[in-house]
């Protein structure tokens, strides 16, 4: 981990580990079902036990996302969500709750906005950093420089198929946490997470990872409790998005509170 900069996300995860089994990271897309409702839903997540927020910026070609998140982000884009709404959302969420907010975004929107300008506006809004699903460390020289300049967190992904050398690169370059991809596949709830995540976490530990969260397919408190027996955080996305789509803010609040139980075992 690059450790000259203090990461609000890493500190939050560390604190959750001393108080409970670990941290719950919750994903929701900006602008779904509307900008206001997405902000209310994100606030509700934090009020119901989510430690770190991951706000997704809707993108036209989300190759890492499964049908639930795709449907939500397509709806958000059709309803006219804009890139700048992400900054508005971060700012408004941060004015209401005190959890760190990461923006999850595919790389082209950042490139088009300007990497430096994006980072500066995210800092102004009170954002903690970026999760970049289609930008790896070896392709991200400009983002590494900009995140060092601004002190923003940068969360890179590690996959079961990554070589040790690449895991080391992800561990050394990530700040906040390393996003540990639980299984080979795209986002979406899965009944069985298998053993890949546990094995990958062990390999990441060998490379020196001290803050890592497991995501992709996580949807129940039981899974979270199991993940937190070997990892520092668990990431839930599609299950929350589905709750929001089906039952609005009350439903997503209820699910968050249920999932948070998984951090207390």
């Amino acid at each position: 981990m690059s450790d000259t900069i203090v990461s609000p996300v890493a500190s939050t995860i560390a604190a959750a580990k001393t108080e409970r089994a670990g941290a719950l990271v919750g994903y929701l897309p900006v602008g779904f079902p509307s900008l206001d409702a997405s902000i209310d839903a994100a606030v509700a997540l934090v009020e119901n036990g989510v430690d770190v927020l991951e706000l997704g910026l809707p993108y036209s070609d989300p190759v890492m996302d499964g049908p639930v998140i795709q449907a939500a982000t397509v709806a958000a884009l059709e309803a006219g969500v804009r890139l700048r709404d992400a900054f508005t959302a971060v700012e408004r969420i941060r004015s209401r709750v005190d959890a760190p907010v990461l923006v999850m975004t595919y790389w082209n929107p950042v490139l088009q906005y300007g990497v430096d300008r994006f980072a500066d506006d995210l800092v102004s809004a009170g954002g903690a950093g970026l999760i970049t699903p289609d930008l790896t460390v070896d392709s991200g020289a400009d983002w590494l420089a900009t995140s060092d300049r601004t002190g923003l967190d940068r969360v890179f992904l590690a996959a079961p198929t990554s070589t040790d050398e690449r895991l080391r690169l992800a561990v050394d370059s990530s700040r906040g946490f390393v996003y540990t991809v639980s299984t080979m596949g795209i986002t979406g709830a899965r009944a069985d997470l298998g053993t890949a995540a546990r094995a990958l976490v062990a390999r990441l530990r060998e490379q020196g990872a001290d803050s890592l969260a497991v995501g992709i397919g996580v949807s129940t408190a039981d899974q979270i409790a199991e993940i937190l027996s070997y990892a520092d955080g668990a990431i839930v996305g599609s299950a929350l998005v589905k709750a929001l789509a089906d039952g609005g803010v009350p439903a997503v609040a209820r699910l968050a509170s249920e999932l948070a139980e998984g951090t207390r075992r």
């Binding site: 190759v63 890139l83 991809v181």
Partner: protein, 409 residues
């Protein structure tokens, strides 16, 4: 610098100038590295080249012939016009060249399942064909819109034993078929090779696919010398992702006397919102794993593209073309649906050749270019595919079929 370093033909990626690269989820990097390594080894292995050349000769029908088209040329300022007949290949287009190369490579890496995206269906048909030939499983992703306008090719793929999955996400065309193929690959990378159908995508695809199609230009260069005693003044090709164009351009990149012209689909016109003229109207960005020109809005969201031709209906373009455009080595121009369909009909009635509507864009460009260059010019055209798959679209366009696809009585 030595000659080889200054050669425009020496580029092997990941970058072509400032274009190309690899912007992909970490989950796929190992597979891309594995593919790249296998390809670098295969490239040095004479046995690989022998096998591929043998398939070309005995299965594809290589070398493809040249056909001079004087009656068509009368409409193009009297320039001498010569077609490189990739339409005569087995499966009906240039796509088979890339497919056989990648399928051989997949066999070497030990993958037994091929997946592909397809727009017009030509790449899907070629992939289904190779899967049958090599005894592999095959799944083809095709935008739902394209399964409707290229229904015949859907049937061909299914007859060949492939599963065709209509993609209902996003704009339901080629770009969404690529997204879906990448999603499948992320989940099944152990068993599966993603047989990408054009010179786009993350490294090593643009360079590797280029290498598998460059045989088109290598043959054509010698054939032109044999036929006319000289190199052509210009080469024309349609550009979707850009594989047939780079295939015919590549051997000529260092022949500075040869003008290179790529024709993008302008749909209803480049001043409307309905076109696919990526280099003409787009700007640099990242789509499907590489940095190139693309159609996008201010926020970097990919814009819908439109073309009567499913194979050109793509909002991106291969990075090597972006580079060739940026250094001024190749020219990229737009051709409307209307101009393409006029050229389509002209080729049918003057020469007895029914071209793919994709290729008809190159023909329309050639008519204009011939008038510009005049009667002393020689133009080599990439006739990338045949029009069998387009008979229904063209039949309706020219009103020889009714809206149900039945013959007018």
């Amino acid at each position: 610098m030595t000659d080889t370093r200054t050669s425009l033909r020496a580029e092997t990626g990941p970058f072509f100038g400032e274009f190309g690269g690899r912007f992909m989820p970490e989950s796929l990097i190992a597979a891309l590295d594995e593919l790249d390594e296998a390809y670098q080894l295969a490239k040095l292995d004479p046995e690989f080249h022998r096998e591929l050349a043998e398939l070309g000769r005995t299965y594809t029908g290589r070398p493809s012939i040249l056909t001079e088209v004087p009656r068509f040329a009368k409409h193009a300022g009297g320039a001498r016009i010569i077609l490189k007949r990739e339409d005569l290949n087995h499966t009906g287009s240039h796509k088979i060249n890339n497919v056989l190369g990648q399928a051989l490579l997949a066999k070497r890496i030990g993958k037994h399942r091929l997946i592909a995206e397809t727009g017009a269906g030509q790449h899907g048909v070629a992939t289904a064909t190779a899967a049958a030939l090599f005894g592999m499983e095959c799944v083809v992703y095709m935008g739902e819109v394209d399964t409707e306008r290229q229904a015949l090719n859907v049937a061909r793929m299914r007859l060949l034993g492939a599963e065709v999955i209509p993609v209902k996400s996003g704009t339901r065309t080629l770009k969404d078929a690529l997204n879906e193929a990448f999603r499948d690959w992320v989940a099944n990378v152990e068993s599966t090779h993603y047989l990408l159908g054009t010179v786009a995508g993350p490294h090593p695809f643009p360079a590797m696919v280029r290498d598998f199609v460059k045989v088109i230009g290598e043959e054509a260069r010698q054939q032109m010398l044999d036929l006319t005693g000289a190199l052509p003044d210009a080469i024309t090709a349609c550009v979707g992702g850009g594989s047939n164009a780079i295939g015919i351009f590549h051997a000529f990149l260092d022949d500075t006397s040869v003008g290179l012209y790529g024709y993008e689909a302008a749909g209803d016109g480049v001043d409307t919102l309905r076109h696919a003229a990526t280099i003409t109207k787009g700007r640099p960005g990242v789509l499907h794993g590489s940095r190139s020109f693309m159609l996008q809005d201010e926020d970097g969201q990919t814009l819908d593209s439109h073309s009567i031709s499913a194979g050109l209906d793509y909002p991106g373009v291969g990075p090597e073309h972006a580079w060739l455009s940026s250094i001024g080595r190749a020219n990229y121009r737009p051709v409307t649906d209307k101009a393409a369909m006029e050229a389509f009909r002209l080729m049918c009635t003057t020469e007895g050749i029914i071209p793919a509507i994709e290729s008809a864009h190159a023909l329309a460009g050639t008519i204009e270019l011939g008038r510009e260059l005049g009667p002393d010019a020689t133009i080599l055209v990439s006739l990338s595919g045949r029009g069998d798959k387009d008979v229904e679209t063209a039949g309706r366009y020219f009103d020889v079929l009714d809206e149900n696809g039945n013959a007018r009585v």
